[in-house]
């Protein structure tokens, strides 16, 4: 019977997706430990485990510099990808990325403001960036509530665009005011994004927000699908669409803002990884959300490995994620012309 075949096909797909999730997860653990040994000390390549035990400098290098950096890269990738997938679902729009509600530009403005007027100390810049990222979200939300045009989702999108534009012109202004020899390069470097000066302290300042936000999103993963539907339909299925969407937006922005505040602008992760995840796991967030998190971890760790080992000096991470992300996006688009039609 065609019906029982269909049911078998559904079960086979589910089993297949579980297997791929496990493979990605185990692979990510292996990648993580290999990356820990990868670097340019004492020679470019992998550090041998014996050397790690015997060499005091190697030991400090791995545990004081590489480990917190890798952990941050992991959480950065998971946060941006999860937030991107959730945003794309909540806004029923495959082209939004997690910073678009004024969060990315808000963080950039906060960081630049701090560098020009207060202090270039890492902690001050980070705190400012995080505060302004949340302020960007708050302003977008307030503006969306005041708009008298279209539905809630459309109003949020419009408000996000307007607030982002406001902050981004603010960044432009700050660049002109900045001292071109000392402050301007710092702003530029921050905007390019990177994990070069990562410490345990920075990692631990990000961790609680990432854990809180990501756990909430994971717990909600099935009901996320309902919130991608029209308001009336989502309501008819027993949800409070506006309230639940707002809660989930906050849960997605918290880890995003925390990640951006330590790493600067690391572009394209939150846009491309969710697409890849949906391609591998289908649209259902029960699979695509954990899938996006694992893939995000893979993507950022790989990019950061390149950033710190490819050249003698450090390549800003944001340049690599944008370059590789955009190429991957082009490849995805051209590989599947039919499925992208609206």
């Amino acid at each position: 019977m065609a019906e029982s075949q269909a049911l078998l096909a559904v079960q086979a797909t589910r089993l297949q997706r579980r297997k791929v999730l496990w493979a990605l997860g185990i692979g990510l653990i292996v990648l993580f430990w290999l990356s820990l040994l990868l670097g340019r000390y004492p020679t470019p390549g992998l550090l041998s485990p014996q050397r790690l035990l015997s060499d005091e400098l190697a030991n400090r290098l791995v545990f004081q510099l590489r480990l917190p950096r890798l952990l941050t890269a992991l959480f950065l990738g998971m946060s941006l990808s999860a937030a991107g997938l959730v945003f794309q679902l909540l806004f029923s729009n495959p082209l939004v990325e997690p910073g678009f509600l004024g969060v990315s530009q808000g963080a950039a403005f906060g960081a630049a403001l701090s560098i020009v007027f207060f202090s270039s100390k890492a902690l001050v810049v980070q705190t400012n960036a995080a505060l302004f990222a949340l302020a960007g979200l708050g302003l977008s939300y307030l503006l969306a509530r005041r708009l008298r045009y279209g539905g809630w989702v459309l109003r949020l999108i419009l408000a996000g665009i307007a607030i982002s534009a406001l902050f981004s012109s603010g960044v432009g202004l700050l660049k002109i005011l900045a001292d071109p020899l000392s402050q301007l390069p710092e702003i530029t470097f921050w905007l390019l994004g990177g994990l070069a000066s990562l410490t345990w302290q920075k990692f631990f300042s990000v961790l609680p927000f990432s854990l809180l936000g990501l756990s909430l999103l994971l717990l909600y993963r099935w009901r996320l699908n309902i919130l991608a539907l029209n308001d009336e339909t989502a309501f008819s299925l027993g949800t409070a669409p506006q309230r639940e969407r707002t809660l989930l937006i906050v849960a997605a922005v918290l880890p995003t803002a925390a990640a951006i505040s330590v790493a600067g602008m690391v572009g394209w992760v939150g846009l491309i990884v969710p697409h890849l995840a949906r391609r591998l796991f289908g649209a259902d967030a029960r699979f695509s959300l954990p899938g996006a998190m694992l893939l995000g971890g893979w993507f950022v760790i790989l990019c950061d490995n390149l950033a710190r080992t490819l050249l003698n000096g450090e390549i800003p991470l944001g340049i690599l994620t944008s370059l590789i992300g955009a190429i991957a996006f082009l490849a995805l688009l051209s590989a599947s012309g039919k499925r992208w039609e609206r």
């Binding site: 065609a2 096909a9 729009n93 099935w222 699908n225 991608a228 009336e232 299925l237 289908g282």
Partner: protein, 258 residues
């Protein structure tokens, strides 16, 4: 006759405080196990009335009763177990499989953070079978034709296991064959005891399905009653202001333009 499932008692509604009334003083009963059709010209308030029944919109004055309780007294999930909405159309942005999509109908039966179990999958699969698209379970909803998509929306509603089904213009985008199929599906659901409230512009669908008809005009109930009582030349001419005639062929009513 048993007591009605849904009662509109002098319901008035407007979208903005000072705007014109969309519905004024609307009263009608929805008998259980019957198909009631909301009929009337564009903009007469049919969809608004459907959303009021759902609880998505709140009446400005008057009360809506569901099974003897005022509608706002029901919790969100409880309401979702009582009734299901089949929207006129639904834009689907992502590649869900048909089964994944229909499974969302289990939400009102599950605690907040729970996921559907094997039992829920059985129920969803059963609903697909009832509307005749079980063989499409593993297809992507975006690959389906318009008629199949409409069936997916109905299957999702049935997965909610509701007692009241709200259908908004279910045949609006369907060709003749799919309209026929939809009529058969609704008839079968009624036979199994479902109570249905639906809107339609299509007199053929009304004639094929309706036990009772509520005709709205300019936000008010113009006529209500059985198909026999309401679907007459005089009433329809008055509602639409065009010359037409209701004739009976082989014991079945049809509508003719003059």
């Amino acid at each position: 006759m048993s007591k009605p499932l849904l009662v509109f008692d002098r319901v008035t509604f407007r979208y903005e405080p000072r705007a014109e009334r969309v519905l004024s003083d609307v009263s009608f009963d929805l008998p259980v196990h019957q198909v009631t059709l909301l009929f009337g010209p564009n903009g007469c308030g049919k969809t608004t009335l459907l959303y009021l029944s759902l609880g998505w919109l709140r009446a400005e004055q008057g009360t809506i009763w569901l099974d003897g309780r005022p509608l706002p007294a029901l919790g969100r999930r409880e309401r979702g177990r009582w009734m299901a909405l089949v929207p006129q159309s639904e834009y689907i942005s992502f590649d869900y499989s048909v089964l994944e999509y229909v499974l969302l109908g289990r939400a009102p039966h599950l605690p907040s953070l729970a996921e559907p179990s094997e039992r829920d999958i059985e129920i969803a699969f059963g609903a697909l079978g009832r509307v005749g698209i079980g063989h499409l379970a593993h297809h992507s909803v975006r690959e389906l034709s318009g008629g199949e998509r409409q069936m997916v929306l109905i299957a999702r509603a049935l997965t909610q296991q509701p007692r009241l089904l709200l259908l908004d213009e279910p045949t609006a985008h369907l060709d003749l064959q799919n309209t026929y199929r939809l009529v058969q599906v609704v008839r079968e659901l009624k036979r199994q005891g479902m109570t249905v409230l639906m809107t339609s512009h299509d007199p053929q669908v009304v004639l094929a399905l309706a036990d009772r008809v509520v005709i709205l005009r300019q936000g008010q109930v113009f006529r209500q009653g059985t198909l026999e009582e309401v679907f007459t030349d005089q009433v329809l001419q008055a509602v639409y202001d065009i010359p037409l005639q209701v004739t009976t062929v082989d014991g079945k009513k049809t509508i003719q333009w003059l």
